[in-house]
Amino acid sequence: MADQRKSCLTGKGVTKEFGFGRTKTVAVDNVDFDFKEGEVISIVGESGSGKTTLAKMLLGLISVTKGDIYFQGEPRDISSQRKRRTYWTQIQAIFQDPFASYNIFNKIDSVLLDCIKMRGGARLPYEQKVEMMTEACSFVNLKFAELTNKYPFELSGGQQQRLMIARIFLLKPKVLIADEPTSMIDACSRATILDMLMSLRNEVGMTPIFITHDIGLAYYVSDTVYIMEKGKFVESGSADDVILRPQQPYTKRLINDVPKIYEEWDLSTV
């Protein structure tokens, strides 16, 4: 039976190679995928498996060595600055390290104003812009009045990541790629961030793609899970299938690596 849901991102034989000759690394190796609209997708793999590289290709931030990427069923065209801009109104990202994600010379206001501009709101009266920014900030439990004229690095890591979500709130993209959005922050803010992302998903109706090395997190949030090993997807399917009935030894290892609170820890594998 053919899947009736619309595709949002599709890849055929997507490959990324860095360098050439003897220094060549194949970061992403001939992967096929079909991300459906409305699903929560997770890409799980250990460090160096090529998750970030794949994410950057999906975002159009780096070129694709081989293969094709389709956006909403159409071949993706990002050949000019104007087309890329249009593409980026529909696909957005949250990066791993909040401290490296902001230009340290720009104030928080300008980060948020850029998003309003991107949505075509450049000419709106300033009061309305402030209203929009205030709304976005309060969505992530921040007070815009306290943030205005401050720099992002003056915030804590969790607050910076929340500001990143406020950005997405303003941009309302179709797809959000979240590259380990919680790996740099403490467990407590982690749950908050994830909850905010999930409620944002309901609010703007976007397709989130979580990239993570934490298979527990993937199980907690996602419908479909892709397991990535050394640049290849080794297993994919619904979260229940993949995580409760793993077929591949790599997947089993990833699952076993998650420390269980009620069992004694085997520190030799950590």
Binding site: W88, A93, F95, A100, Y102, N103, I104, N106, M118
Partner: protein, 416 residues
Amino acid sequence: MKYTIQQIFQSGKFITGFSIFMTILLIVIIYPLVIPDPPLKIIAQGTFFEPGIYVNVYDSINTPFYTLNLDEAADRRIANRLGDEDRQAIKEWLVGNGMPEAEIDPANTEQLLDQWFNNFDPTVRLPGMTNADRNYYIRLNNNIQGLLNTSGAVIAELDEETAVLTEKATVPQSAYVNVNDVPNVRVLPLGTDNFGRDVLTELVRATGVSLQIGLVAGSIATLIGLVLGLVSGYIGGFVDDTIMFVTNLFTVIPSFVLLILISFSISQEQRGATTIAVVIGFTSWVWTARAVRSQVISLRNRDHVNLSKLSGHSITHIIVRDILPYIASYVVMALILQISSGILAEAGLSILGLGPKTTDVPTLGLMMNWAMIYQAHILGKWWAYFPIIITIALIAFSMNLMNTGLDQVFNPALRD
């Protein structure tokens, strides 16, 4: 930003370098206001006048005298006029006349003259003495007697028609003039150079010109290097390959050789200070370009740049707003280094005789060149080259200090 500037001014090295540099700059600006002489004007007839205060003799005579009876005056006068050779001759005569050598001290004028007057006898003929020697001693004796003369000098006026000298006044030996009364006194703290120009005035102007050359050359080099580095680093691909090809060409040929060749091919008449500065600038951007490029390459894949792309910003916006500020401190440091090496490059060129033309303005390099051609170093005329070396060294030193200071602020890893 404000915080960084505060930090910069807390760095001891930077402040030291900055103060030295500012002092030099202030002197360059203020000196011409106080002494507005043209720096290349030849004022002295003759070469290499020693540093000192030059009092006009004619004016001194026409200035009211004051009588000061000072005990040492006569001794000083004699001591000053009795040359080393004469003292040595006196000593030889006395020794030849049978005085123990240990008792004679040629430096002690009073004792020496005492010994001379008590012992000298023109009729005595010492063993081994020629007639010429004897005459020399008689003449020396007369000279010394003349020195001891206490009558004043006569000032006479020449009658144009009859050629008769009429005595106008006598200047007694105890006559003094107050320097403040003499209308023409010229202080030459660094003497004059081989052409008879005031070295200090020339040096101040030369420092100013050299700083300008450094600034122009440094700005051009930094600007070219910055733009090429940014474009080549950020855009990459074919553009990068092309720019790096040119850069590598420039790297393989040492820039100073290139500089010499270019300067050589411009005729002396067309080589103004600005031309030289521009030529220096155009041959020394290579390292800035390389350094900026590698910085940009490490920056262009950072997440804040990615975020800026995702916010729909154009390449220009990203280069100017997301890359440039991150390397700004680095560029400032490169600029300072380029300015100081521009000054040195001009000096090097001028010493080789390929500097700016010599009739316009002095530069530090040209002054070194003149001192060298006229052999100031061999003749021991230190004032014609030593102050210039010191100035060049001070400029380079202060700029390097500022640079190290900045480096410590911008790279916390270097702080001690």
